[in-house]
């Protein structure tokens, strides 16, 4: 049980797909304008990851080694199309606001990467845990970026129920007059992510310096 939890924690912290591995940035930067979009996209990617990881892990011994990548692409494309239809039916407002980025989950490097490096070599339960971990890590990273962009860019936070667009779960508005609306533009997305990565790199460098000081003593 403990190693399954370790796999999940791995996807959230140590190998976070956006902050550490820098995969799947296309959709992450484009979607993160509001919390609702972030949660919706995170849900979609987690669902696709779980479906594709479980299916690939189940049939991993039946796939000839030479045609691995094409088989993965076909399975992932089918999973994404299912998710697209489900979102069109159950979350229509989210479907229109996410737009073309739902089909673009197919070419998201995270899903193909996890399929190739984890699901094709491990058991079904381990692949399920890995998918959950990676999905949660992706959603968490998206939430952090969108929270910063929405808070500083529009001066408030708001979250709408994805399944029922008329139901606002919360809507806070802290300040309107000094909101930096650059952060709601595309360039704001780049700058936000750059600053977050710089902060994480700063923490990593500090840890390395501390370890080196400890070794010298």
């Amino acid at each position: 049980m403990k190693d399954k939890l370790n796999i999940i924690k791995n996807g959230i912290i140590k190998e976070n797909p956006i902050f550490i591995m820098l995969l799947g940035l296309c959709s992450a930067l484009a979607i993160s304008t509001s919390l609702t979009n972030a949660v919706g996209m995170g849900m979609a990617v987690t669902f696709v990851l779980i479906m594709s990881n479980v299916i690939i892990s189940t049939i991993r011994h039946l796939i000839p080694d030479e045609i691995r990548i094409p088989v993965f692409i076909v399975i992932i494309a089918t999973a994404v199309k299912c998710v697209q239809f489900l979102m069109n039916a159950y979350t229509p407002a989210l479907y229109t606001s996410l737009g073309v980025f739902i089909p673009l989950i197919v070419v998201n490097c995270i899903i193909l990467g996890r399929a190739e490096s984890f699901a094709s070599k491990n058991s079904v339960i381990d692949s399920l845990c890995d998918a959950i971990g990676m999905g949660l890590g992706y959603t968490l990273a998206l939430l952090i970026i969108s929270a910063i962009r929405e808070l500083i860019g529009t001066g408030g936070l708001s979250f709408v129920n994805p399944f029922n667009a008329t139901q606002t779960i919360f809507r806070f508005s802290f300040f309107k007059s000094c909101a930096i609306s650059l952060l709601t533009q595309p360039s704001g997305a780049f700058i936000t992510l750059g600053c977050i990565l710089a902060y994480l790199q700063h923490r990593r460098l500090k840890k390395v310096i501390e370890i080196q000081k400890g070794e010298r003593k």
């Binding site: 030479e66 045609i67 990548i69 094409p70 490097c109 193909l112 990467g113 190739e116």
Partner: protein, 54 residues
């Protein structure tokens, strides 16, 4: 519905055939791949990625 299945099988067959043919065609001489250009890339789907990098 039947058209969808036939079309799906057809394009899968075309893709798998082209992939296998490409995989079996050796790169021309003098085109050995220089990995420094790809060192920062995490793209798993790239066929040039060496297997010991995972």
């Amino acid at each position: 519905m039947i058209y969808a299945v036939i079309w799906f099988v057809l394009i899968c067959a075309i893709y798998f055939t082209l992939y296998i043919l490409n995989h079996r065609t050796p790169a021309p001489e003098g085109c050995e791949f220089e990995s420094p250009a790809c060192a920062g890339c995490h793209n798993i789907a790239c066929t040039h990625r060496k297997d010991d990098e995972s």
